[in-house]
């Protein structure tokens, strides 16, 4: 952020982050913070008595353009006052994919529907949510082995997402950034190697038999992942996390008001109350908790989530019989007789994704996927008020927002 502002001609800013003893702590703006001179001072500057020039009050920042037809993935319009953010408008570039609309009229067990839901972000969580809703509609539960497998997949997704978020923030700690990148790679490889997507009757079932050599590789990857996850306690990263204590606060009351859950809610002292369909993932004792709702708290919650998910994944894999044939674990559903509505919630790395389906004669009348990220978009401007410009990147990243998850 500072780099961007320094591109402004003759910009001059105080570095409160360096000058303050507790640079992340939010406090009321004081006159000294207001770098932008008054109109009178402008005149004085223009007359050459000072080298200071007024800073722009509004800055547009575009992050991660991903499609040439879009202007941006996320755009931030910053209203700046001195070295702090006065207000923030979030713009999420979106072309309506029509995913939910295109699902109407498809048979609930069609590969086309499964593929369509796979376009949602993150695909794994969306497909699991639909699978659970279909099973509820059919009045069937997945076999225990399938559930265990899904939980393993979710654990790996939690590892990947939290390592991604922490890696974004750990730019000043190159070694840790490399480690986190390796964690993402290892967890993704484990996920791809272990999971075979299928229709909604039983997605993510075990492959019928995994060769011994491949099993050893998988186990090694997960063991590495577990060890690497411990490195997030690196001292320098702890210092970075501590520096962000007090910055970007979203307190419990506001987190609830905005409908936020997941790590952001737990960092504010809340519990994940939305009933989850897949066990206690993310809501048991083995997850990160904090109370202050600040960026440092969110990061510590994510570190705890990353470590506990890596540990659970390793334990789950060790307990699985990877040689056993589990094709019979598929849920058999008489699709043509499915009628009615059902909903399901799956707790993902950034909060819950919910699925609501309405089916007549096995044909979808309405498919609704509510991503975890939409409430986050609503909450972020609140949390960003008064944040030091230097901290904007870290505060924003700590929410783990995926703009691509929002549009369906």
């Amino acid at each position: 952020m500072r780099d961007i502002l320094e591109e402004l001609p003759n910009a001059l800013m105080p570095d409160l982050a360096l000058e303050s003893e507790a640079p992340g702590v939010l406090r009321d703006l004081v006159d000294d913070d207001l770098v932008r001179p008054s109109a009178e001072e402008d005149v004085q500057q223009d007359s050459g008595r000072s080298k200071r020039s007024p800073l722009a009050r509004h800055v547009d920042v575009l992050i991660d353009a991903f499609d040439p037809s879009l202007s941006t993935t996320i755009g931030l319009r910053l209203s700046v006052e001195g070295a702090r953010l006065r207000a923030l408008a979030v713009e999420v570039g979106a072309v309506h994919q029509g995913l939910e609309r295109r699902a109407v009229g498809l048979a609930i067990d069609s590969p086309a529907l499964f593929a369509l839901v796979g376009l949602a972000e993150p695909a794994l969580i969306a497909q699991l949510a639909v699978a659970r809703a279909v099973e509820r509609l059919a009045g069937r539960s997945a076999p225990a082995m399938t559930t265990t497998w899904r939980l393993l997949a979710l654990d790996l997704a939690i590892v990947v997402e939290n390592a991604r978020v922490l890696g974004d923030i750990a730019r000043s700690v190159p070694r840790l950034q490399r480690v986190l990148r390796d964690v993402v790679t290892a967890a993704n490889a484990a996920l791809a190697g272990l999971v075979v997507g299928d229709r909604f009757g039983c997605p993510f079932r075990l492959r019928s038999a995994i060769p011994a050599e491949e099993r050893q590789t998988l186990a090694r990857r997960l063991a590495d992942l577990d060890a690497a996850a411990r490195l997030v306690d690196d001292d320098r990263f702890s210092r970075l996390t501590a520096r962000l204590d007090g910055a970007g606060v979203l307190d419990l009351d506001h987190a609830r008001r905005f409908g936020v859950d997941g790590p952001v809610l737990r960092a504010a002292g809340g519990h994940d109350e939305f009933a989850a369909d897949l066990g206690d993932l993310g809501a048991g004792a083995d997850v990160g908790r904090a109370t202050s709702g600040c960026t440092g708290a969110r990061l510590r919650v994510r570190i705890a989530d990353l470590r506990s998910a890596a540990r659970r994944a390793t334990t789950r894999l060790a307990g699985l019989d990877l040689v056993g044939v589990v094709d019979e674990a598929a849920v058999v559903v008489d699709v043509a007789r499915l009628d009615g509505t059902a909903d399901a919630i799956v707790r993902g790395p950034n909060g819950s994704t919910s699925c609501f389906i309405d089916v007549r004669g096995g044909v979808v009348q309405r498919l609704r996927l509510r991503p975890a990220d939409l409430p986050l978009v609503g909450a972020i401007p609140r949390a960003m008020r008064g944040v030091l410009l230097d901290d904007i990147g870290e505060v924003l990243a700590s929410f783990g927002l995926r703009a691509t998850a929002i549009d369906r």
């Binding site: 309506h96 029509g98 008001r257 409908g259 009933a275």
Partner: protein, 179 residues
């Protein structure tokens, strides 16, 4: 599997507020009329024995089926019961609207904008009823079943008018509504 919330409603508010109640696959479903939805929602939100949070708000278009065309669906989670429930609100075909629920559950703020955008239904009293996902100038509402999926839209002429979701100070629900 209980009908605890509707029993609470009947006991502490009035059974006449509900058009029907049922258990559907373990989830309590309460049907209410649009004119009662605010009262019912306020009760479910504020009564400590209900303590319902809003998980999701969406709609269904039942074009071609018997009964009313549009149904508003609220997915709720009760903190006190640890269960989920659904509120269903059948909307009038000629005037498909309901009073905004964003003053009760601020989380409804963006969901209502989304339903207005994609279904063309109206959350009356919503202080910022702009489109959410689609660009201004988009014609029609793509989640209506009579919207042709292959319908062509006017070309977005410039990046400034490109489709984008905008959250700004008008969406500040932190004090219970927009400024």
């Amino acid at each position: 599997m209980t009908i605890a919330l509707s029993s609470l409603l009947a006991g502490r508010l009035s059974a006449s507020m509900m058009i029907s109640r049922r258990l559907e696959r373990g989830v309590e479903v309460i049907e209410v009329a649009p004119e009662h939805v605010v009262t019912v929602a306020r009760f479910l939100s504020s009564d400590p024995d209900a303590a319902c949070d809003l998980v999701d708000l969406t709609a269904i278009d039942r074009l071609g089926q018997r009964g009313g065309r549009f149904v508003l669906v609220l997915v709720l989670a009760s903190r006190s019961h640890g269960t989920r429930a659904r509120l269903e609100v059948g909307l009038d075909d000629d005037h498909p609207a309901w009073p905004t629920l964003s003053t009760i559950w601020p989380a409804a703020w963006l969901y209502e904008r989304e339903v207005m955008d994609l279904f063309g239904l109206v959350a009356e009293g919503h202080a910022n009823p702009r489109r959410l996902l689609l660009p201004e100038g988009f014609i029609g509402h793509p989640l209506r079943l009579d919207y042709r999926i292959a319908k062509r839209q006017p070309q977005v002429p410039s990046p400034e008018r490109a489709p984008r979701l905008v959250i700004d100070e008008r969406d500040d629900i932190s004090s219970g509504g927009a400024r």
